[in-house]
């Protein structure tokens, strides 16, 4: 048995047969080089499109734009993101950006996301951002917090977070984490000082010392 449907407004594939049919209709590209592959998970999956040139850079610009210092795009994050996701960082994978662009295309109305005006792109992403972070992320299943929650009597596991929110959490975290660990984000936008030495202070008035990007524990890296 197989079925295809829509969830939200984007094409959903639930079996490999549907995936191939959609591909044949031009909805997605399949080719060498890992352009678009859909995993056969139980949950509805969104087809990953070939990521448009400039898509990652546009997301970076919207999240962390240039101000007096370089933004995420100028800091090199767009080049790092696909590589990071290919290696599983931030909970992403090789399809993360392509799937997210598919989702944004469906939200963009009559056009695809990358052909929308800047204002429209910001509007689409702002709405998704607000919806996503209106609630806390479910704890990862391996944590003791999640185990404790799941072991409560009568507890029913929360429904999985919708894919669009999950993908946005992943991508936004990746942009932020990548940016503040670049030289521009880490040492120009913020201050990077590997050795505190005699300047170390345990308890000082806020604003009297620089704020460091290399607070390892605070940023869990």
């Amino acid at each position: 048995m197989s079925s295809s449907s829509t969830a939200g407004n984007w094409p959903v594939v639930e079996t490999r047969r549907d995936f191939l049919r959609l591909a044949a209709l031009g909805g997605i590209a399949i080719a060498g080089g890992g352009l678009a592959v859909v995993s056969m998970r139980r949950e509805a999956e969104v087809a990953a499109k070939v990521v448009s040139p400039g898509f990652a850079a546009r997301l970076c610009d919207i999240v962390l734009p240039p101000t007096g210092t370089p933004g995420a795009a100028q800091a090199g994050v767009p080049a790092f993101l696909p590589e990071a996701f290919r290696h599983g960082l931030f909970g992403g994978d090789a399809l993360t950006l392509g799937r997210f662009e598919t989702i944004l295309d469906t939200k963009a109305g009559s056009s695809v996301f990358m052909r929308c005006s800047s204002a429209k792109q910001v509007e689409v992403l702002t709405a998704l951002d607000e919806a996503t972070f209106a609630r806390r992320a479910p704890p990862p299943p391996a944590t003791s917090a999640a185990n404790a929650q799941n072991s409560q009597p009568g507890h029913e596991p929360a429904p999985a977070e919708p894919l669009e929110n999950r993908l946005w959490r992943t991508i936004k975290d990746a942009i932020v984490s990548s940016y503040y660990t670049t030289e521009a984000g880490g040492s120009q936008e913020l201050t990077f000082q590997l050795i505190a030495g005699d300047e170390y202070r345990a308890d000082v008035q806020l604003g009297t010392v620089p704020y460091l990007s290399n607070y390892w524990m605070e940023n869990v890296f």
């Binding site: 734009p65 990071a84 599983g88 917090a145 984490s177 670049t182 170390y200 345990a202 607070y215 869990v220």
Partner: protein
């Protein structure tokens, strides 16, 4: 290279380094054998000074590689990362088995210095409450020693390694010879004041750490970088490389052999006493034998057990020194949980500068004095307050210039309290050799059986409730709490298997860490522990090691070993 030595030290971690130092300084010719590669102090710390942008994955590491090959080690996210991954074992290349239905995460560092390079550096004395606990409760075997036996050796060790901390006068946590204590942060001061006012008998104090706050010998003071697990060029925390190895090498009596695993202990077939060890080179698989009058087992709790279990013969049919049948049994690890996390209010105008490589603790208060609980023993809290960093930007609404401006400064204060609960000895928690699975070197894989008991679970429930009570009393907003124990092994305080006791029928080593069945073999790492207390154990390992070496050399000089 000669194959004859006065003593062989198996392992180069925290206790191996101490054994080598003490024995060489007492004039013995020593061979120290380390299964992992050489890492030189300073020049071997290849990522120590690197910035995130100098790392291929910005310091986060290749997550897919970690899933494939570092699936256990990479769970220690505050210690394991792209800068430090070479200080942890590759799980795929170093397999072990977990008994059906049980779980034990085995964290390991196979290199010169072992886990001394990557440890948490917390140093606590045990008290008589701890050394007398087994005997008092009738659980496990009574320690044949008490605090008074170890106290001079705690002094000795602390004076050499340097421990920063505060004098508190607590019976449950004896004071030592401390370097100046690190200062608490504003949110910690605020919560401490409430706890000590509202909860009589409880204290929140700065951790006692081997991060030194003043020069100690050639070792410089801590620079507040929190790069410790990368290796520290300043030598500002205790490790084999920074502290004991230079002392041993200075004697000219130390021979160091790396990339070599000990297959087993050789022994005299008549007396059963050790005559040396047989080894296997991990690179070219060459086998060698070395002889000595004394063999010291410092391979780390589980590997020490494994080597003893592998050393079977007609004289030691169930493993070396196992006439009691106790070898491998009573494996323990502190039961840990993130008891509670709270947002601390009222100190948003305060912050800090630099990375403090230390935490706060709330020493044990359960089953102390008049306090009586339904569970045995107790727990201690360790934790810290910090202000959320830029990472919060990936977990909150906001985009663009506004988000960037929000992240220009610190976020809210959070204080977490994690519990270490004492783990009661249980004979069914044990290390065995798997019957047919071998590792890439052809050695039998270890199989670990481990489950926490009801006592640990009850203690962690109490810890969660008390953590909430204290944080709420301090006006914190508790955002998370848990009594769910982390998997066994998560504390990296594995102990037992060759427990100390007075009765050779009930224990593996005597009060001076000598194997009952072969007194010229000493076990002085975590394997010799008969209970866990709730304090971090490394300082006690060091003190017991120095004490055991002193005794062994005295016996050697009397020709009585």
């Amino acid at each position: 290279m000669t194959s004859e030595f006065d003593a062989i030290v198996v392992g180069s971690g925290i206790t191996g380094g101490w054994s080598a130092k003490e024995l060489t300084e007492k004039g013995l010719k020593i061979l120290m054998i380390e299964r992992g590669p050489l890492i030189e102090h300073q020049s071997g710390y290849v990522n120590e000074m690197k910035s995130p942008w100098e790392m291929p994955f910005h310091g986060f590491g290749d997550a897919n590689l970690y899933k494939r090959e570092y699936f256990v080690q990479s769970q220690k996210r505050m210690f394991f990362n792209e800068y430090t991954q070479q200080h942890w074992v590759n799980d795929k290349e170093n397999p072990y088995q977990q008994a059906p239905g049980s779980r034990f995460d085995w964290f390991r560092g196979y290199q010169l210095g072992g886990k001394s390079l990557i440890w948490g550096r917390q140093c606590y004395r045990w008290s008589d409450l701890d050394f007398s606990a087994n005997g008092r409760d009738g659980i496990g075997v009574d320690w044949p020693i008490r605090y008074a036996d170890v106290a001079p050796w705690y002094d000795y060790v602390e004076n050499f390694i340097g421990v920063s901390g505060s004098q508190e006068g607590l019976e449950v946590l004896p004071d030592g010879n401390f370097l100046p204590a690190m200062e608490l942060r504003a949110a910690e001061k605020s919560v401490k004041a409430v706890i000590e006012d509202r909860f009589p008998g409880r204290k929140m104090i700065i951790g006692r750490s081997s991060n030194i706050t003043k020069q100690v010998g050639d070792r410089g003071p801590c620079q507040y970088r929190l790069l410790c697990s990368r290796g520290c060029t300043y030598g500002a925390y205790f490790s084999t490389q920074s502290s004991t190895l230079p002392a041993a090498q200075a004697t000219g009596l130390l021979t160091l052999l790396t990339d070599t695993v000990v297959e087993g202990i050789d022994h005299d077939p008549v007396t059963g006493r050790a005559t040396g060890v047989r080894t296997l080179n991990t690179k070219d698989h060459a086998r060698q034998r070395f002889t000595a009058k004394l063999v010291v087992m410092n391979a780390g709790t589980i590997n020490t057990n494994a080597i003893l279990l592998r050393s079977q013969s007609d004289k030691h049919p169930n493993g070396f020194g196992n006439s009691s049948g106790m070898l491998g049994r009573f494996l323990m690890d502190h039961a840990s949980a993130t008891s509670a996390i709270g947002i601390v209010h009222g100190v948003d105008d305060r912050t800090y500068f630099g990375n403090r490589p230390n935490n706060i603790i709330i020493p044990r208060f359960r089953n102390v004095g008049e306090d009586k609980q339904s569970f045995h023993r107790g727990y201690m809290f360790q934790g810290a307050a910090s202000r959320r960093g830029w990472k919060r930007g990936g977990d909150m609404a906001g985009l663009g210039t506004e988000l960037k401006q929000d992240l220009e400064g610190p976020g809210e204060w959070q204080l977490f309290l994690g519990a270490f609960a004492e783990c009661l000895p249980n004979a069914e928690n044990r290390v065995q050799l798997h019957k047919n699975k071998t590792d890439p070197l052809g050695l039998s894989q270890v199989e670990i059986s481990f489950r926490y008991g009801q006592n640990e679970l009850t203690a962690l429930k109490d810890a969660e409730a008390e953590a909430r009570r204290m944080l709420e009393a301090a006006g914190c907003t508790v955002v998370m709490s848990s009594a769910e124990p982390d998997p066994g092994g998560s504390s990296i305080h594995e102990m037992g298997g060759a427990r100390m006791g007075a009765d050779p029928k009930q224990s593996v080593v005597n009060s001076f860490n000598q194997v009952h069945d072969a007194p010229n073999v000493l076990v002085t790492d975590g394997a010799a522990m008969s209970s866990t207390a709730c304090q971090n154990p490394s300082l006690t390992y060091m003190a017991l090691t120095a004490r055991a070496m002193d005794h062994a050399v005295a016996r050697l000089k009397e020709h009585a070993l």
